[in-house]
Symmetry: C2
Subunit: 140 residues, 2 copies
């Protein structure tokens, strides 16, 4: 039996220790706009995907919805690595933007197979964020 179809990865979750600090980074530095949010979660639409910040330790138990359905424990640890897509021609603008906000570029990697490059830096919780051109993976 073959699996039904899957679309994109829809949600990527980062666990953060200080929601205000994390929001300042993802909104003021990365330029994301908060959607649904409370003290435990902030949701950002990122193209056709979602970045969710979860306060670490807030998802250790089932969460009961008004209709009685249960969201299972979703807590996690970290740090983790993830990447945002950015256009190759914007990489130097991103470098200047990040450095202008005092964000150190940990590394720049030029990928032979795609001719693109990636910038790596850390968010306030130590997650290693990458800005990568989709062409790295043959995504147009």
């Amino acid at each position: 039996m073959s699996a039904p179809a899957i679309g994109n990865i829809l949600e990527t979750i980062l666990y953060v220790d200080d929601m205000a600090r994390a929001r300042a980074f993802y909104e003021n530095v990365m330029g994301l706009e908060a959607g649904i949010n409370d003290q435990f979660m902030t949701a950002y639409r990122v193209g056709n995907t979602m970045l969710l910040l979860f306060k670490r330790g807030s998802r250790l138990e089932d969460q009961e919805m008004p209709n009685g359905d249960l969201i299972p424990p979703l807590d996690g640890a970290g740090p983790v690595h993830f990447a945002f897509a950015a256009a190759q021609q914007d990489m130097e603008a991103w470098r200047a933007h990040l450095e202008g906000h005092g964000v150190a570029i940990v590394s720049t990697v030029r990928w032979e197979r795609s001719g693109t490059s990636s910038l790596y830096f850390r968010d306030p919780d130590g997650h290693v964020v990458e800005l990568a051109a989709p062409g790295l993976w043959g995504i147009g």
Copy 2:
């Protein structure tokens, strides 16, 4: 200074203890097809996004590329939560498919705000996987 544009979240990483076990799940159960892979990483294209499995403990040090560039340490911990997009009309087919592979559905959540539902289950490393309709986040 406003930030340059961001596209989708391009890469989401899961840290796994047993690459063969994790691959069996993501390929045989979830139906993904492996791209670039070695003993430390398996890359899956998922729509216009990438799921990368990293062997836990294999990314503790810089990795030097043939051109001398350094990929920084990318190791992480877990488990984490993430979601694949799936069509709402495929959710019951997904439930049958997963149960047919012996994967227990941890919870089913019906979302009032979107009228969609999500299935939650665990992968072999304890990551909580969700199948969610993009309409949950207003993504068409």
